[in-house]
């Protein structure tokens, strides 16, 4: 029996008149990969932004273990052990690969209000950063400036930066977005490896990838949860078929 | 302060607020739509005042001066947008600040070269030069006229931005540049138009204020800083905010002078600090 690591209760977010997330109640289980799928505009990214604190919910509640996350700022949520990656590459383009991961690694020090000792001298930070780079497979690019790397590598770095903060729960927003087949395969392998030690919330359009890694699935349509279940249940759900999977073209 | 004086002071504050609004609205428009911080706005105001003096000297009519001066301001604004501002849209605010700061230096010196460092005035048009008795003083009709003009301009801006095709393009450009471009709106033309209009608005304020304020070197500096306070209070980019901010500053300044004369120049800054304490994005600003 695993327990829920992250839960939402009647979570809603509206922008003016548009309700982007509508009364969403989901339990994300510990040590599971929980994927959220749905057509464009279903409210998946909005949901992730609510979970990571980048948006404040209009109503409803988010709990992470014993912590109420509902009104917590972004940095506090990160400090609690939730890391996220972005759909649109969000890195420090002019920094080297190592520097990009360094900041995340440094954020796990009790404080960075340290003014005298050179950052380089903090070996535990370096170890964390290097481990993150190793995990995301960018070992040979460690001193390369991020803007000079390929798109796929930047996507890997995106995940690496998050890993450097040593989170328990990963929020991955379309990690495969815009990737070729080979690169996608690498990232899928990476997610599988990460799933061994982390809980993962995954938004992804690539259904093959989703069914390859997910332990649980939630289907969202128009801001609402249509169904939640195991991949098998979702695949066989008539409701989902009708509303979503059936319309084939939208899925890619 | 007796009640009649109190009412007159309110009128003074509101009237001052109207003139501030006219200057501040151009500033907030240029920022809200183009994302450009224009320090030279005060200098545009000064140029407008000098233009009205110069053109009045030739035509002997304030109306002719304004009619001829406005197109000059539009062309002037357009030229500055094309020659300098247009290079800055993708650059940091820092460079906008510096470039427009450089413009102030240039425009102030140009003014000195063209018109010297004397001060001038423009007479109030004949039929508006009367005063209305009010309490134990008189109130100049021209001041009331200026308030009326400001109201008309405010209403005009509301209609243009809210109801016309140009306004639609302007709003689209302000909200989402890429999207507007994709819809076939020529953003760089919209920006050029907005900047020219903003310059014209500042110039117009200078022209219509000239009979009230007289015309002198450096007259733009003071109005610039106070306009900043107005739009920070109202919320940068919001015309409605500029209006409310202008009224608040006008009233605070007027009553500050009378009630706490020792601190009168700091009153409006204290007001600004209070508003920001409550709403960091200003009264009508979008949260950043």
């Amino acid at each position: 029996m695993t327990k829920a690591i992250l839960s939402t209760r009647d979570l809603s977010k509206s922008f003016g008149g548009l309700v982007a997330v509508d009364s969403v109640t989901i339990d994300f289980m510990e040590s599971r990969v929980h994927a959220i799928i749905g057509p464009n505009g279903a409210g998946k990214t909005t949901l992730i932004n609510l979970l990571s604190g980048e948006l404040l919910p209009t109503s409803g509640k988010i709990t992470f273990g014993d912590n109420d996350l509902t009104r917590q700022p972004v940095h506090a949520i990160s400090q609690l052990g939730i890391g996220r990656s972005y759909q649109k590459t969000n890195i420090f383009p002019e920094f080297t690969c190592l520097k990009n991961c360094w900041l995340g690694a440094q954020s796990r020090m009790s404080t960075s209000m340290r003014f005298f000792r050179p950052a380089k001298a903090y070996s535990e930070v370096r170890l964390r950063a290097e481990r993150a780079i190793d995990l995301c497979g960018l070992n040979d690019r460690i001193d390369t400036v991020a803007s000079a790397m390929s798109y796929g590598e930047q996507r890997q770095l995106e995940i690496g930066m998050m890993l450097a903060t040593e989170p328990n729960l990963l929020l991955l927003d379309e990690p495969l977005a815009g990737m070729g087949t080979d690169e996608s395969q690498q990232v899928v392998e990476l997610i599988k490896r990460l799933a061994e030690e982390h809980s993962v919330v995954l938004i992804e359009h690539d259904m093959d990838a989703v069914f390859a890694v997910a332990d649980a699935l939630t289907v969202m349509v128009n801001g609402k949860v249509l169904a939640t279940g195991t991949p098998e249940e979702i695949r066989n759900s008539q409701e989902v078929q009708d509303a979503y999977l059936g319309t084939g073209e939208d899925v890619a | 302060m007796d009640f009649a004086t109190f009412l007159i002071q309110i009128l003074n504050g509101v009237q001052y607020g109207f003139t501030l609004f006219l200057v501040a609205s151009g500033l907030t428009l240029i920022f809200g739509i183009m994302g450009i911080i224009n320090l030279a706005h005060g200098a545009f105001y000064m140029i407008g005042a000098y233009l009205s003096f110069w053109l009045f000297g030739m035509s002997n009519s304030l109306w002719v001066a304004i009619l001829v001066g406005l197109p000059i301001m539009v062309i002037f604004g357009y030229a500055i947008e094309r020659l300098a501002i247009s290079f800055l849209y993708k650059r940091d605010h820092l460079y906008q600040v510096l470039l427009t700061y450089g413009l102030i230096l240039i425009l102030n010196e140009m003014q000195k070269i063209l018109w010297g460092s004397d001060f001038y005035s423009v007479p109030v048009p004949e039929f508006l030069s009367a005063s209305i008795p009010m309490g134990n003083q008189e109130y100049p009709v021209y001041r009331l006229f200026v308030s009326l003009v400001c109201m008309i301009v405010a209403a005009g801006m509301y209609v243009v931005i809210g109801k016309t095709k140009l306004g639609m393009m302007i709003r689209a450009g302000a909200t989402n540049r890429e999207m507007a471009q994709a819809l076939g709106i020529n953003i760089s033309r919209v920006f050029a138009i907005v900047f020219s209009l903003g310059a014209a608005l500042a110039g117009f304020s200078g022209m219509i204020d000239a009979p009230l304020s007289s015309v002198y070197p450096g007259m733009g500096d003071f109005i610039l800083i106070i306009s900043f306070v107005v739009i920070v209070i109202g919320g940068i980019g919001s015309v409605k905010g500029a209006f409310v901010g202008a009224m608040l500053v006008g009233l605070a300044d007027t009553f500050g002078k009378v009630l706490v004369p020792e601190f009168s120049s700091m009153v409006i800054y204290a007001l600004m600090a209070l508003v920001l304490l409550w709403r960091p994005q200003g009264l009508f600003g979008r949260p950043s």
């Binding site: 996220r84 000792r117 | 820092l94 700061y101 010196e109």
Partner: protein, 321 residues
Amino acid sequence: MTHSRPLLAFLILAVGALAAFPIIGDEFYQELVIRLMIMGIFAMSLDLLIGFTGLISFGHAAFFGLSGYLLAIVTPESEAVSIWFALPVCLLGAALAALVIGWFSVRTTGIYFIMITLAFAQMFYYYFNENQDLGGSDGIFIFYKPSVAIGGFQILDLNNPHTFYYFVLVSLVVSYLILSIILKAPFGQVIRGIHANEARTRALGFNTQHYKLVSFVIAGTMAGFAGFLEANAGGIMSPAHLGWHESGTVMMVVILGGMGTLYGPVLGAFAMGFLQDYFQELWSDHWLLLLGVFVIAVVLFLPNGIAGLFSKFTNKKEDGK
């Protein structure tokens, strides 16, 4: 900051030249160089905000001037004040002001930040401009430079022009080193992250507002230190020291020298001193017009300043090896 070898050589050479200058330069030029070095410290402190944290403060002169005024206030008319009292007062005053203004300001971003810092600085300006006890618009004198003594034994006589020159030079070098150390430390990594991508830095777990505020206070305190030196050098403080033209000038100095480099703003201070003199020579009645054209030219064609040119040059050399 990692110094490339040619840069390090250049910096050492420059400090050496400054140290040797009093041997050859007469009193006037020494005083001029003193003022330029002070401007260099002032500009460096602003570079911490503009070039490293990404905070475009348009009110930095507030701290510079406030600190100078504090020195004037604590200096009696008939004798010198002890530096052990005066300097902490000036620095703490500037730090406190930066804390208050910063607390309001760092909650905002972009253009709001620019305007709010400007408006707060104007508030200080008007305070000093109208406070007749502090000389009003005419300004206030500092009659005696502070005494530097330990146990009644004078260790430095700041009234001696040579001593004061070296005092300022050492201040410049120490300020540079302090900022370099801070920038290399974990704190420096965070503010650079904020500059590059604040949202991402926050998402990585940093309360960026706190870091911005601390950066603002450090910069304000160092500007206050520059103001303390300025009050000593000029012997007078006036509201214009806090005015927005002063803030604009120091911003120009930072850009001209090259922001985000620390040494660039010092180069900028010297270049600006030279240019103002040159423009006045060229067209004494309307030299501000030339300055305006120059400012615009720098913005359009030399956004990375002199240091940008310099690093381009040295990088090329290194590539050639």
